[in-house]
Amino acid sequence: MSDTGIGASVRRREDVRFITGSGRYTDDINQPGQTYAVFLRSPHARAKISAVDSSAALAVNGVHAVLTGQDMAADGLGDLPCGWLVKQKDGSDMVSAPHPPLAHTVANYVGEPYGIVIAETLAAAREAAELVMTEFDELEPIVDLTGARGADQIHEGVSGNLAYDWELGEKAATEAALAGAAHVTRIDLTNNRLIPNAMEPRAALGVYESATGEHTLYTTSQNPHLERLILSAFVQVAPEHKLRVVAPDVGGGFGSKIFVYAEETAVIWAARKVGRPVKWTADRSESFLADAHGRDHVTHAELGLDADGRFVALKVQTTANLGAYLSTFGSSVPTYLYGTLLAGQYATPNIYVEVAGVYTNTAPVDAYRGAGRPEATYVVERIVETAARELGRDPAELRRLNMIRPDQFPYETPVALVYDTGDYEASLDRALEHVDYAGFPARRAASEAAGRKRGIGFACYIEACGLAPSQLAIQLGAGVGLYESGEIRVNPTGNVTVFTGSHSHGQGHETTFAQVVSDKFGIPFEDVEIVHGDTGRVEFGLGTYGSRSLAVGGSALVSAADKLIAKGRKIAAHMLEADVDAVEFSDGQFLVRDSNQALSFGEVAFAAYVPTNYPTDLEPGFSEKAFYDPENFTYPAGTHIAEVEVDPATGVVTLVNFVAVDDFGHVINPMIVDGQVHGGVAQGAGQALLEHGIYDDFGQLVTGSYMDYCMPRADDVPDFLVDTTVTPCTHNPLGVKGCGEAGAIGSPAAIMNAVTDAVGDNGLSMPATPEKVWRALHG
């Protein structure tokens, strides 16, 4: 292993610009003649927009336009589509309510945009926005998730506010197995609504060139090609070949920047309307209101066990809050990214899940780090822990008894997935060792002696990553294929420019992908440049989410590299007057087998561009592209163990120890992987202990600032102990599985199992705030 190749903890090259303030984010980009936009947003959770009077706003010096949803509709722009069609129990399509980018008749959540004010300066736009007088006719908002199905319908044609009633698995067999079980554990869970809070708020800058008809949209997107596709094919802002979407440096996404939002749609449309570049950058208050939120499930689950403690059946009923509209992937998160993971790591033979996806007058809910898989893990791992407590079994050993064994792979679950490989006990054993499980009773006694309650909790999670095999995904309702593209241009001087359709917004692709490519070609790490995030430079791509970048995007690069090496062998064979089959490529050298003849990678590249001594039947140039479509999901899995201390006097929970042992397959850069786990666990700790997006009865977001929405800080988490085990993915060339979400998937369940263990009240809900914990302890 070289010190920059696969397996090396290379420092992230992008961090130099990020930590010296020289990153180039959307808001850093300025265009000549640029104007500024401020959005008009509904202050009501549900109201008819009866009149918008912009006369006073237009009189403000420097104001160019006040455009409304009516203007946008009049221009014929389409609705924002939901990209995943979920089929209901009865085979019918889900009911997708129209989602105009700017509301023009009814506003359905607080913060929903219905207009855009464009002015010479941001101050003028703000002043004008305050002078727009809008008449709303308020309607009764539907806010309560569990009551929504019986309430007045929000959208015309959506009876009972039900977007879909979905199921997966065998209902009759599961119920029969439950009826015959020796023991049934029942649990009711709420998965709290989260607000994403990427460090960089969303932003957009729209530029229109009237001379050429070209539109350029700079925006905070995790998947600029998908953004372009949706804006051209569905919203019809501009034809695809006249629309360039650039997602430059992006400061965190966590899912919230996957989606196509109203704001960037309006900005690029308005740029053409006013004939000037238009820039918008969200303030933090807008981010709270109008970024897609995450989670928000209410679930009842039942787990049946036989007399030996083997799981015989799991039945799960979930109501999922979709918010006021179906966001880009909002429909898939509580269904195919959730129900399919309910087998967890266990060989449970019967599983049935039904999910009601419900509209409410709240912000749309969509993927947030983990996207469905944290929710699934929370159900499985809370109920398994509860079963162990009810039966007086050791929670680690009850899990071990039920785990899928290594000799059972490939393993087909009752909920539509085929796990390719894994060794779950290996991670469990390693985690038990790291946490010193045997020493826990003594640590608990020591805490007790100090007047504190100590608890330990497990989560043996699994996730499906590497989204996704296109044919399968499309069969299940995806509106696009989920392959990835990669292109490698070897320059005449032998250095390399790599174009990837995945997008980095904090993950470190510029480092990891350069490690993969430099390792593959045996060239210096510094000679590889990674380009991403620009539809004008990268051919196509589906972006970054679902821990897919390396498993899918990295695999595409390996395919492209293999094509280059094959071509290089032909060039080298010609130049060295050898048979192609006798030419091998190793460590940056094209070598003729059993000889000392060799050409370096750079010499071959140069020859391809200066073809003086070159095969006549071969095209010049040294550049290849590839599309990689995975044949299965990847299945990262692991064991997370949390240990907490609770102060009975204050109810404060301290996360004192956290061990994560994950199997991500092969690891390219261990330092980056550790960092991803650290960040994910911190977010999971935020969900378990601190964060909660709350709407009041009137649909007002009362956790709309950092005053009331509590984010985790460095002093809320311990030094994590992170380790890996390795079973290489069987179906991609790198043997990698993905590591971006695991931390946020395993940790909420592990922490809540630890908190409930310490407190002795299994009914505690996330977040386990001091108040809730204190009340649980003191009645």
């Binding site: 008009l40 947003r41 202050p43 009501h44 959770a45 607080v110 926005a129 305050e130 002078l131 727009v132 007088m133 809008t134 208050s285 709270f288 209101l289 009041d696 009137f698 007002q700 977001l701 009362v702 956790t703 709309g704 600032s705 005053m707 009331d708």
Partner: protein
């Protein structure tokens, strides 16, 4: 949101009632009040400009009095619009009585129930409650001075939900509370 309060005004019951129904008196006591009109027997409209630092907004309030029992009680129904800044609505039940402990003074009690929306709600009620109390204090300090002609005593705030203030107000209490909420919102914005 709920808030209750009690104020002692050093003036007779009839004077307080009259003062609280005099738009000019009220306008003088509310910082930033641009207009105050009595548009019907029991209806008022007012505009209050709140300005802090570089941010300013004008809030339009419609106030409707119901259950009027002159000179001792009524209910104020308020609807406040602040455009992009948010809105508020609710009721305040107000009762006036001669103060048994301080002859010649009037004791005023109120109970406000309301809800706020838009940026107001987003800021958080904790901040709004505190700011509203301060605004109410300021209003009653000014009002007490105008109605009684003397400086008010120092205010005393008791622990718990109920605040006790020396000096007083009436439907304008409600207005002051709302003005406070709006100011609080702008602070946090």
């Amino acid at each position: 949101m709920e808030q209750t309060g009690e104020y002692r005004i050093r003036a007779g019951l009839e004077d307080v009632w009259a003062g609280l129904n005099d738009p000019d008196v009220l306008a003088r006591c509310i910082d930033g009040c641009q207009s105050m009109e009595k548009v019907g027997d029991d209806r008022f409209e007012t505009a209050v400009k709140a300005k802090i630092g570089p941010v300013s907004a004008t809030f339009q309030a419609e106030l409707q009095l119901t259950d009027v029992v002159a000179p001792t009680a009524y209910t104020i129904n308020a609807n406040v619009k602040g455009g992009a800044a948010g809105f508020g609505k609710g009721t305040a039940e107000v009762a006036l009585a001669e103060d048994a402990e301080a002859p010649g003074a009037t004791l005023l009690r109120y109970q406000v129930k309301g809800n706020v929306g838009g940026k107001l709600a987003q800021v958080g009620s904790r901040l709004i409650d505190g700011a509203a109390r301060k605004m109410a204090d300021d209003f009653f300090a000014a009002f007490g001075e105008v109605v009684s002609g003397e400086a008010p005593e120092a205010t005393v705030v008791e622990a718990g939900e109920t605040s006790r203030y020396e000096t007083g107000g009436q439907w304008a209490i409600w207005l002051a509370v709302f003005a406070a909420l709006l100011l609080a919102m702008i602070f946090a914005w």
